[in-house]
Symmetry: D4
Subunit: 230 residues, 8 copies
Amino acid sequence: MSFEDLGFSKIDIDREARTGAPEIIYGMGKTPEQAAAIFARIAANHGRALVTRADERLAEAILKEYPDAVYNPVSRLIRYGTPPRRYPGMVAVLSGGTSDIPVAEEAAETAEWLGCQVDRIYDVGVAGIDRLLAQRERIRKANVVIAAAGMEGALPSVVGGMVRRPVIAVPTSVGYGAHLQGLTPMLAMMTSCAAGVTVVNIDNGFGAGYYAASIQQLVWEARHGEDIVS
Amino acid sequence: MSFEDLGFSKIDIDREARTGAPEIIYGMGKTPEQAAAIFARIAANHGRALVTRADERLAEAILKEYPDAVYNPVSRLIRYGTPPRRYPGMVAVLSGGTSDIPVAEEAAETAEWLGCQVDRIYDVGVAGIDRLLAQRERIRKANVVIAAAGMEGALPSVVGGMVRRPVIAVPTSVGYGAHLQGLTPMLAMMTSCAAGVTVVNIDNGFGAGYYAASIQQLVWEARHGEDIVS
Amino acid sequence: MSFEDLGFSKIDIDREARTGAPEIIYGMGKTPEQAAAIFARIAANHGRALVTRADERLAEAILKEYPDAVYNPVSRLIRYGTPPRRYPGMVAVLSGGTSDIPVAEEAAETAEWLGCQVDRIYDVGVAGIDRLLAQRERIRKANVVIAAAGMEGALPSVVGGMVRRPVIAVPTSVGYGAHLQGLTPMLAMMTSCAAGVTVVNIDNGFGAGYYAASIQQLVWEARHGEDIVS
Amino acid sequence: MSFEDLGFSKIDIDREARTGAPEIIYGMGKTPEQAAAIFARIAANHGRALVTRADERLAEAILKEYPDAVYNPVSRLIRYGTPPRRYPGMVAVLSGGTSDIPVAEEAAETAEWLGCQVDRIYDVGVAGIDRLLAQRERIRKANVVIAAAGMEGALPSVVGGMVRRPVIAVPTSVGYGAHLQGLTPMLAMMTSCAAGVTVVNIDNGFGAGYYAASIQQLVWEARHGEDIVS
Amino acid sequence: MSFEDLGFSKIDIDREARTGAPEIIYGMGKTPEQAAAIFARIAANHGRALVTRADERLAEAILKEYPDAVYNPVSRLIRYGTPPRRYPGMVAVLSGGTSDIPVAEEAAETAEWLGCQVDRIYDVGVAGIDRLLAQRERIRKANVVIAAAGMEGALPSVVGGMVRRPVIAVPTSVGYGAHLQGLTPMLAMMTSCAAGVTVVNIDNGFGAGYYAASIQQLVWEARHGEDIVS
Amino acid sequence: MSFEDLGFSKIDIDREARTGAPEIIYGMGKTPEQAAAIFARIAANHGRALVTRADERLAEAILKEYPDAVYNPVSRLIRYGTPPRRYPGMVAVLSGGTSDIPVAEEAAETAEWLGCQVDRIYDVGVAGIDRLLAQRERIRKANVVIAAAGMEGALPSVVGGMVRRPVIAVPTSVGYGAHLQGLTPMLAMMTSCAAGVTVVNIDNGFGAGYYAASIQQLVWEARHGEDIVS
Amino acid sequence: MSFEDLGFSKIDIDREARTGAPEIIYGMGKTPEQAAAIFARIAANHGRALVTRADERLAEAILKEYPDAVYNPVSRLIRYGTPPRRYPGMVAVLSGGTSDIPVAEEAAETAEWLGCQVDRIYDVGVAGIDRLLAQRERIRKANVVIAAAGMEGALPSVVGGMVRRPVIAVPTSVGYGAHLQGLTPMLAMMTSCAAGVTVVNIDNGFGAGYYAASIQQLVWEARHGEDIVS
Amino acid sequence: MSFEDLGFSKIDIDREARTGAPEIIYGMGKTPEQAAAIFARIAANHGRALVTRADERLAEAILKEYPDAVYNPVSRLIRYGTPPRRYPGMVAVLSGGTSDIPVAEEAAETAEWLGCQVDRIYDVGVAGIDRLLAQRERIRKANVVIAAAGMEGALPSVVGGMVRRPVIAVPTSVGYGAHLQGLTPMLAMMTSCAAGVTVVNIDNGFGAGYYAASIQQLVWEARHGEDIVS
């Protein structure tokens, strides 16, 4: 059997073999008891675990049993264990403004937990373009770029035209009015005039970090294995 | 009476005295006969006239009687007569891409017909930021900046952070999919992270050109008259 | 370097030279500590500072260090310092109803902090058109008109047809049901039948006040300098 | 039986007794054959008939058999027969602009076919408020006011504050961009700051005319019958 | 002067002469102090007053000074004074379900405060059509019908086909999911297959009651005056 | 292998065994050549085939090879072959208006092709409720009821409260304005106040007919087999 | 009379005869007093009752009088009494994730209260397809399948292609950002590439359970009665 | 200078050095003359060129001068020249249905033009899950997976849970009704329950192919250069 059945949850224990990472626990909508039970099984199977969108109650339930786990209320992640390897090359994580940092941190910490090295470059929104231009070389050195921005979400378009590497755009829910809780930057990033940009869900720092790690994993395997290249 | 009643239309002949410009004729949804009749009355009253959103049929009906009128099928404007004065200082009209030029031209020609001098700076979208940066000084010299852009509409945000002058953002219907016929850049411009930016309707080059002219008119009167300053 | 790097924030100290005003602090989504740290750097660099969307906690953190700063819980602004000059001519700030006053005040106080003189004309919504008509001459005397309205947002359309000066429309979130948290008046203002109207984001009194000041700054420079006119 | 069954249609022959008017034929989506067959049955039962949204093909099929029927390609109505009575008092039909006239005509001709007297007052949109104010007394004399407007749809709000009579607002699909094919004026009219205004569907001149007639019918019966008043 | 200026509010004291009813106070977004001050002026001028959307704090502030005023927390109305006349004929107020009663009550009490007689017919939604059919004759006796319904908002369509009188549809915010806070029944009522139906804003019981009263006022004047009929 | 690979299409030949019906060909977006090739393979495997959303070009390409196939331009179906069995009991197919018949026919003919008996009851929309009530007993006799309606889509709500059987609601794109191309009746049907109603996509008569047949198949197997009941 | 009139509610006592189930009480928007009064009348008439969307206050008011009633705060149902018969064959209730269980439970318990046997198969979302495939045979054994899923709502599409039985899709409000409170999975389920799927409102587990029971009732009557088959 | 100025276009000749690929020409909204002029300059600078969204008129204008260029009316691409290198490893391009092939081909041909090897796996939509499962190993061998799907867009969610490599989801405009021209699958893909998925604009096959190539370029450089790894 490829999964373990808890009744309310079927834990996908085969997932690490299949995708390179254990199942990650989405904290929202789970009771502390459910989250803790799932956590315990994943930690037992893989020696590490990650919970996203965890509130204080979830964190308390889990850290009571796993005092080595780390909870960051800004990124809302509970991280436990260390990655099996550390990938070479950098993932740059950019934020448009100070208020986008929680989402950017979710991306950065997820990527780190999965084995990436992260270069955080915050508050480089396009309204003060020189702040971004001053970081141009640093950004161009990264293997993958994550750009989290709220408001009108223009940052990935500008960055996308600067670099030769894949850019992952993360719209954030920071804004008001016509911003529509993040729908506006999401749609704007979708229709970006720059090629080389893809988009994840609003505030989905986790998804961006995970995706960056899947690219870094590919690069690492390309250097170390023979199987993926003809 | 402040207007002239044609039954299907009440021409606002008092408007030039009140707002500084004669009534402008919105061509869409009018029959050629209606448009020509209104045109004739405005031309008779003011010695000049402007029609927006004019198709070939409207242009034909009007130019038959007014051969000096000029029709541009790109901007869809019919312009007739010259402005009473020419304002000092420049209105910069930017377009994000080549496909945004029809809207940018509608803005530029409207502003010119109202007495402005216009500096056209086209295809400076943010995906190739160096093209825009190369024009920075030229843009900063303008009194007013109009920025027309489709796709994600990020141009006004970047420009808004570069200049000390009012920026008028014009979303265009150039794009597809998540672009939502221009709704996405419109919402994005609305929620721009740059201060100093206001927005007009999708493809409303006319509105942007008119607004720029109303600012230039204010500047001109500020230099020549006494009445508007304490 | 054109900015000062606090890690979580890159302060755009070059902005006053570039745009005529110091960076303004958007309070929402910042912790009191972050806001206070940014405030301190801007106050040190420019001798004045403005925070928008400030709640009581932010105000407390900042006023503890800067007792001369003024917090208005209606407009949610923290103002500190005085403008380098006072512009001649009036900015008229209109509100459609009593409930739109907080947004109108944000516009008015922002404009004043930036050096404008403001004429407040409140509760002149179009459902009682005589209240507006009674103010017609007063409104026509202004250099720039700001019209804040919720509900259906018709005020700027009527005002736009009355005056020769630029009108800045501010949709407010006052209303319910089909009002869609301000989206309806925003869209309505966008598609106004009056020329000479541009629009800012829902409840963005700050943006309207800033824009009005940028026009007044242009007028002032047109009168005093030579550089912006040919 | 209260209806006549044609298979593809069940004609509601009881409707005149029940509601005061025969079933009206909605032309859109019907084949000429279907429309003509329904028309023939209603004409036979009631001696009069009305078709809305009729195109040239429908009109041709019906007028071939009923040469006394009248087709107006502007209002897209086919009218046949005369009303059993003519109601005292006026229905005022206003249009915001020249381009809204087709919808206004649909309202006016529907009301006339149902027995109303109509006062057409066109091109009185709020951007030139004096054109509307000049008609104030004429509008106030009406028993019911229909206000058809596209763009931002502000006309009913202003009119609603002027009169003591019920106002029926008709949003039209005249506009572009943020106008959203009439959705914007419809929502705006819904959230009007004036009491005494109700709204019908976009471009639904027929519905407005019918509603006005139902009010006039009530007034007429109030004067002539005893049954509806205690 | 046709209004009284309190600074934050311009009270439209001319409104009763113009429209037949004093200005009604929209409670939402006003402070208790503002509401009480406006109430006092209207009560002084007209001897009666109505506040809508009043919460407990507003009610307390007003009833302290006007103990004869009546506050109903279900309809959220504060009513004070009696109507100058009582109109003959009935206004039927229908609710689709029990949960729509607060909106229906707002309509009913508004109409009563304005002089109407009201017949309340509640919980007659279309899912149990026999409940509605059982009331058919009672509904047909009314001069005007108000139909408040949430969910899919089908009630006015069925009622509209039953009666010869004007129907005012009020969508309510009762529902969830695809109901979109009332937007769905509002749109559905707009596109009703029944003629003779107009629509007011979501939860706008007040607007429906006011409109019904304006029709009843017309009927009353038609019977008693000569001025509105030719 | 459970499918046959044509490169541009993988035909699911196992589907009849798995779901009770061969793969049905969705005509839209396929070239005539693609559709004809898929048709040929399915006809060869199963002795019958069904194409939905077929235009004249598709029909021509297929009927050239299969002259026994039947094309109905109203329902846009191409039907070929006969069902292996005919289910007892009736599927009632209702349409709100005459204009909804094409969608109703798509449902009816699909159900028939799959072995159902169909009772067509057209033009029974709720605005003339007596037309529907007159059919009440006939509708109550059916095993399954399909109700296709445009405009506000109220028909399924009324029917849902009349019968003890499952109702399948089909919103149609018949309407205009607030009808939003069928989105409004779809949302309204979703939030129906009647239990016992489920919804399929706008204009998806096929889906409704298919679903009805899957219920009839279940009933038939319940009577004839032993395997589905404990 | 087919209903019992409580004033605020008209209880449809005829409903069980007509549709096979007593009126079910929708708890939301009702006061505890109203809910308890309706409950008492239904329990008296039918010996059983069901309340949906009940919060703690409602449950307390009802259980005080009916201590045998059962309240489940997860499904928010209050169940009282037993079904008159138990239907053979299984209703499979699937949930995409652990967080969708409350909605799935509402479906399962409703179906059980109405006489169905339920097989709960939880946490089988498509992102770990092998978890679903492992349940394939179990799912194929059911007479009806309910699939509750949030996020992108893909579960019913995959299940729909696996089974020969009707699938009822229930979108849930579990998700964030582009998920739009469940609107996205609802729309996605609507436009499913699988035939044999219908959809109920977001979080409407009750509606799905009720619909499944109406199918099971039909199957049961088909086996035991003669009246529904020709 | 980093670009070449044609007035209506500023060609970004520096782009290949900066991003690894020459500027790609977006055909939509450009006249044949504009497209041909830009094409000529890019071909001259880089020896190769790519035009997207090209119609027959554009293709004719360009192929007249460049007979070696290849135009595919299905993908709407004009390809000219060969890539400087061919990347090892495969890009898998999946389509949900036959009708999604034009978008999938745009992705495949773009990736090939940029140097990728492509494995096309078409018509593997989730409604016949076995068709997809049969390709599982083939898909797992790819370095990057592109999944183009219309309707409800569930394909990427299922694929995302099967592979360890980055998945690029492309919503297509294939569908109707609730599909909202592709908005529904786009939103659904955004909120996918699978990690490892990012999304591009509706029908943006080009963007997906370009992104896949940027990942393949990174892998290639990781194997051949030293500069991107620490």
